[in-house]
Structure formats: structure tokens, C-alpha cells
Symmetry: C2
Amino acid sequence: MLPVSQGLEGVVAAETAISMVDGERGELIIRGYPVEELAPNATFEQTVEILGVAEFLNAERELPNIAYEVLRAAAEHKDDSMDALRAAAGVSGAPLTMFPTIVAAYSRLLHDRDPIAPRKDLGHAANYLYMLDGQMPSVERVRGLETYLNTVVDHGLNASTFTARVITSTGSDVVSAIVGAVGALKGPLHGGAPGPALDMVFEIGDASRAEEVLRRKIEAGERLMGFGHRVYKVRDPRADVLAAAAERLLGGNPLYDLAKSVERTAIRLLEEYKPGRRLQTNVEFYTALLLHGLGLETPLFTPTFAISRVAGWIAHCMEQKKTGRLIRPQSVYVGPRGLKWDATRAAASRIH
Amino acid sequence: MLPVSQGLEGVVAAETAISMVDGERGELIIRGYPVEELAPNATFEQTVEILGVAEFLNAERELPNIAYEVLRAAAEHKDDSMDALRAAAGVSGAPLTMFPTIVAAYSRLLHDRDPIAPRKDLGHAANYLYMLDGQMPSVERVRGLETYLNTVVDHGLNASTFTARVITSTGSDVVSAIVGAVGALKGPLHGGAPGPALDMVFEIGDASRAEEVLRRKIEAGERLMGFGHRVYKVRDPRADVLAAAAERLLGGNPLYDLAKSVERTAIRLLEEYKPGRRLQTNVEFYTALLLHGLGLETPLFTPTFAISRVAGWIAHCMEQKKTGRLIRPQSVYVGPRGLKWDATRAAASRIH
């Protein structure tokens, strides 16, 4: 009898040269580069190149007409942004270049505004910001967004990346793998909750109230959104990179100062109430602050995550393809056996 | 250092009460019923009920307009049938009831014919056959199709089912899980090759040529399509069920007699050339014969497989949901480390 590992914790399902997560040491390496070395410096295009999938940047940014029709139908029903991204990705041929166009178009359609066509003369990040509001973004905003996109581009064998690898392992195509991965990223246990982290800061409103509100939450047994991570036992290295980017973009801004104050108070109180648990600010907290500072609304947070992570997914698809191996685990049957069919049952309920 | 299991062979990723595959004994149990007990007797609706997901049969069969638009756009490009199914599934809300409508509509659109609207007064299988050609199907054809649908409805933790469970494990929704699973089923290492199995029978053309053609193929090192299975070391129990269904539907038909003759010769020659390997007729061989006998063209084989398997996928989604566990394996990093960013690189290639 084989041991059951329902979450596959501790099971190694792939060798990868794409990224390494060391939760004990608080390290993230992307194709050899520590994330703090790569993220603030590289353009997103360079990160994609480092991931080894630069050829996917040569594809069209403009969507086929049917993708706009899918987005319009989704907007009529006010569908979730990730559902709209998944559906439109399923009828678009080029995920890496088309994801920003899909996400920006859907955001505008939800506000009864026409989509803005992509521009070829802008970089990947700048073009995304441009398609959201039709304004040429500042160098600082582009740099801030690129830092975010580079920071979250890959993170070991998370559930969406694993989904993409399982689908690829059957010999299926990249679009099928990416559409599956978007569906996985949508799940609240994976795509994270950057929205609620910021909501907590807004709820506190003023630094003088931080301690009182946070104490009340902790004593009521509420989880503080934006703190703690399943893998990292020390500070998530991505949080540092995003904190620095947020400071560059937002330093001096009252919301930024408030967020810093909330963070300091939360960490102090978490150590007081849960000593030794080493709960630290996670990537969601500064993602929320940075993306909000870039002018993105909360429903854009997870789709913008996907705009970055799709590059990692594609890199994993290419790597998985090279192994030529089908991923096919076992299950253990715990149901009944040896039941007999009651022939009268079939006759009774048959509809021609 | 944890051992790497790239294909997850021998790793148990789930406890399930849905189906049990015993490859050594040639057994398949579906919720307690041996497949040979359930498949020839139950209606497809009853099988769905036994799987515990009968409520999904209450949904609409008719597609939303946007799904037809997606199928028309796909037909213009002559897209693969599984890609069309995946894309249309992504904009349809009810996979179990809508898959037959999608598959039949796409088949007609590829032949420049208008889709036929589903009928509520027909059973699931009868309605699918009706939507393909607009004719009321005979009881024998309905029984043949139901036997097929029941036979392949679930089969342990295969790659598409596992995909659906991984996506569900993040807390995502059923449509996301099913769309991912369709993408996995499309892969030639999973969805199988029922088309080629029949092509071989057509190529042989006459029983008198079987031995000569098969010997030549085996001696040339070609794999005989329709024989051998990764899991079953003895005869696949599904092959027996489908063989009996094919005989009921097609007995006396020259193609059926030819196929039986090819099967006998192939097994004899495989034992002669590869003694002890116990290569037996697999499910693909009789799937091809039965679905062809039902009047389905080869491109419909894998989508028709999906029309059945979607019930199994949904049952697995529900079961996975109950565990509340994220499926998140580990990877081992085998790439470089400690690279430094060259600042001149960023400056040189930056595009605003």
C-alpha cells in the first residue's frame, strides 16, 4: 500500500532551471538571478528573455475579433475578471502578448468604455498602462509595474504552474496549458488576496488607530491579510523588492506612510500574540500597495498577476515538453465494490 | 534531498470513491459497480446519478449565443475539434449538459450546416445523436452510445482528471476545472488514438491480408494501434464491454468481421514476436469500431470521449472540494545561481 499524499507536499514532481524558492532562507532565484537583483533592474522583456521564451514576444498584441466578442458578452454579465481572462485566452492564440490587451479591454468594457488598441511602439508594461487609460505612462510608473511583473514572474511549482505542466505532459498545446493555469490562478487559495490586504489599511484609515484595530482583529481570531506565507518561514524576498518599489513610487504619499505604520504595528503585535511564529509581511501586502499606487483598481490585481506569471507558465511548458513524460499519479479507491445492477431500475427510468 | 518523480508514477495523490482501476487483474469499478455490470445496463443519466452529480443534469442544454459565435469563428479556421470544445466550454456555464450541444454544433458547422437545437424530450445520448444529423436515433444506436459513454466515464486519476482536481484544489470553480481538463484530454498521450486503430483496419481492408500487413508493421518496428495499455497488464475490461456492444450493433456487418479477424491475427502475432508481453486489445480499438458503427466521423471520437468523461471530472471536482486541500508539489532547482545584473544591459535595450 502506497502512502497517500493528497496535497503532494514534499513530493518532487519536476526538475526545473526556471526558479528556486528557498522558504527557510527567504530566497527566490530566477534563472540564476536573485529576485532582488533582477526585478528592479530588468525590463519585462529582458526577464522573458532570461526565462528563455523571448520568441513568444514576437506575436500579435491585437486580439482576434472573437476575443472582443467574448469580453463584451462577459461584461454584460459582469463576469469575474479572471473568468473573462480565461474565456478570452481560450479564443486568442498568443497568451504572452495578448494578456495585457485582454485585461485592459475587459477593465474598460466593465466601465462602459471602448477598449484601446495596443501600440507596437511601447514596451510591454508601458503598453498595458496605456491601454488602461489611454494616457502615456510616466517612466516611474512603467518602472514600478515592471518591477512588479519581474518579481512575480515565477515561483517554483505552484498550483497554476503545475497545472500547465500536467496539461503539457499529455502532449497538448501551450494555449490549452495556459487556459488551465488561469483557471487555477483564479482560486482564492492560490491567486492570493491582495485586495483584502489593502482593504485592511483603508479600514484602519489613520496610523493612530492601527494598534487598536489590529489588536481587536487578532483577539477575534481573524487572520491579518498580508502577513504570513505557506512556504516562507522568514520574510518573503519579493515583499522587500515590492516595498522598495512602492517607496520609490509612493514615498511621502500619506497612504504609503499609513501602510508602513500598519505593517510595523502588525508585525509587533503578531510577535506579541504568536511569539516564535515569525509571521512577516508577505507579497500580497506590497502588491496591493504598489498596484494601487500605479492606479490599478482591485479587480485588476489578480489579472495583472497573470500578465506576469504567464511568462513563467510558458517557460515551464517548454521545459516540461522536453521531458516527454506524462504526469499521471495514482489514486487509492475507498468506495464500495461488487455491486450488482438491478435490471428493473434501468427499465423504470429509461427515456428514449 | 527528496527523490524526483517527474511522472508521479507510484505517487498516490488522492483517495477516491469514484472509480478503481486494477491493471493487474483487469478490473474497473465505478462507484461499486464492475464496468461490465454497469455499462451495458444503465442509462447515461443513471451513471451520472451513481457518480453523485445528478444535479448537473438539470442545467440547460441550449448554448448561450456567444458559444455559437465562438464555434463559428473556430469553424472558419477549421480549428481542431478539441480546441473548439475547450473554447466554447469556456463561455458556456454547464459542461455536462452543454458538451453534446457544443460537439454536435461544431461538427455541423465544419460541414457548413446549421447547428440543430437540443431537444428536452430526449435522453442525453439520444439527444446527442439527434443533434448530429437531425434524425431520431434507433433504440439500438442509443443503447450502443450509452454503453460507450458509461464505459469511459471515469478511470482513476488520469491526467485530465488530475488536472481538474489540481485546479479545483485552489478553490477555483467547476468550469475552470473542466476547461483545463479538456485541454489535457486533447493531448495525444492521453485522449488516445481511436482514429488510427480504425485506420489500420481500413488499410488491411480484407481479412486475407491481415497477417501479411501486420507482420510487416511489427517487423518494421511500428506500434500496432489499438493494442497494449500503460496500466492494464491483462485485457482492458472496457475492451470487452465495447466489443460486446459493437457485436450487438454491428454483428454480421463486414467491417465488424474484418475487425475481429484483424484483432485475432494481431494478438497471435504480438505473442509470437513479443512473447510474455501479454499485449491485448485496448479500449481504443473497440471505441473506434463502435463509434464508427454509430455513424460518428473520426474527428468526433475524442470530443465524444469528453462528453462522457466530463461527468467523471465533475464528480472528482466535488470530491476534491471536500478535502479542502491545495495540491502543490515541490520542484528541484537545477539551474545556475548568484548571477549579477549587468546594468548596461538594461540601459541598452530599454524601450519606454
